[in-house]
Subunit: 272 residues, 2 copies
Amino acid sequence: MKRTAFFVSDHTAITAETFGRSLLSQFESVTFERVTVPFVDSEAKAMDTCRNIAEAFARDGQAPLVFSTLTDERLRQILERSEAVVFDLFEAFLDRMETTLGQSSAQAIGRTHGLGDATLGRGRVEALKFAIDCDDGIGIDAYDKADIILIGVSRSGKTPASLFLALHYGIKAANYPLTEEDLNLSGLPAGLRKHRKRLFGLTMTPERLHQLREERRPASRYAALEQCRSEIRAADALFRSAGIPYLDTSTMSVEEISANILHRKGLKRMQW
Amino acid sequence: MKRTAFFVSDHTAITAETFGRSLLSQFESVTFERVTVPFVDSEAKAMDTCRNIAEAFARDGQAPLVFSTLTDERLRQILERSEAVVFDLFEAFLDRMETTLGQSSAQAIGRTHGLGDATLGRGRVEALKFAIDCDDGIGIDAYDKADIILIGVSRSGKTPASLFLALHYGIKAANYPLTEEDLNLSGLPAGLRKHRKRLFGLTMTPERLHQLREERRPASRYAALEQCRSEIRAADALFRSAGIPYLDTSTMSVEEISANILHRKGLKRMQW
């Protein structure tokens, strides 16, 4: 069974994608062809979208689903006349919000959709620069400015998490790779000791690490399961003995890793 | 007028934040204290949340708003009994989705909420590594592997956009800073010429650039309005004469810049 899902927005469509995806995930047995249609900000573009919906209907033999965050009433009406089943975020909630707040909504296009600073101002951009300057063990001198320092063996997900923490939450995250040399020491590497309170460990099963390393360097000593076992065992032992909180990321997305770190360490995110 | 808005989820709360933020943006005259409550996956945690809601009610003298993506029926019921006005994503749409699809929903906790690869697999992580390896004019030898190459003067938003394109869409984006030296040439810098088709320019008003550069190096020649005017004038002239599409980012968030680039260049995002 195959159907098409459209994510329609007068702006970036990030909200439409996010809420639609969340609903679709509750129906795993249905396969959806996903089509994002951003910047639908005129009647002509809304009518183009209706044509694409009609084509999908003819192709699939089933009504497409539309997840919409259109704010303009006229554009919403055009979409309502299409063959699709429309799930409209504003229609679902705006009336009750107006009642609750005792105000009319702006019904203005593209009001939000950033997930942080409205523009390229300080918070996120500074945090991103910090994450790049302190990626993969470089920039240790700047660690006293870090909100958090992620540590873990190679390929344990430190860089993606550091960058997501910066982009989404405005958190300054450094990351430091635990090398075999580091893991042969007793205790933390010297450069990390005075930052112990800000350290956070990432770990995973040796099998998962093996799989990720095979993608990078197939059939290498680096990727060998036995090597992964030994490094993970040593890293986990270090986290425990040094009292460093840590997280098993084996089945997690970058979003999940980052949200977990923020929550467990009680970090204060930027205003949004 | 001050009220509290809670974003409650049994998982990362990224969806709850996104849809709630989108709705709140339609009521700009109300100031909201925003509280994210992720990982509410037990009755005890749901009851804790109700206590926080009651405290906010007592403090504000007005009912808090709750934007919820709780999937478990029992937890939703606990929240419904609180003093808050609850806007529940699944309650609003799930019945009609079940009817449309002719299936029951899984009502399973934390099914989705990633915005890409389920875990740390290839797509995004490779794209992120590429963005870091080709940031700020480094790694030019790898430009033939780029999906897109962002160019613009210093502080025009290239790095954040490159990283967002990687994290959110799995797009490999390089970025190259147009220096004064580059801008004094007639035509494109030599290293960029053979990649012309993949170039995309970022620009902004001289006033906005001046403001951003003042944050980095106050009262410098680099940040002076006259300097910004001259660089922007030269960069815009280059984009036009070389036939490179470009975007004015003066009032845009990183999300908006990235979504615009994706849309205008017709780039194919990773599966999600």
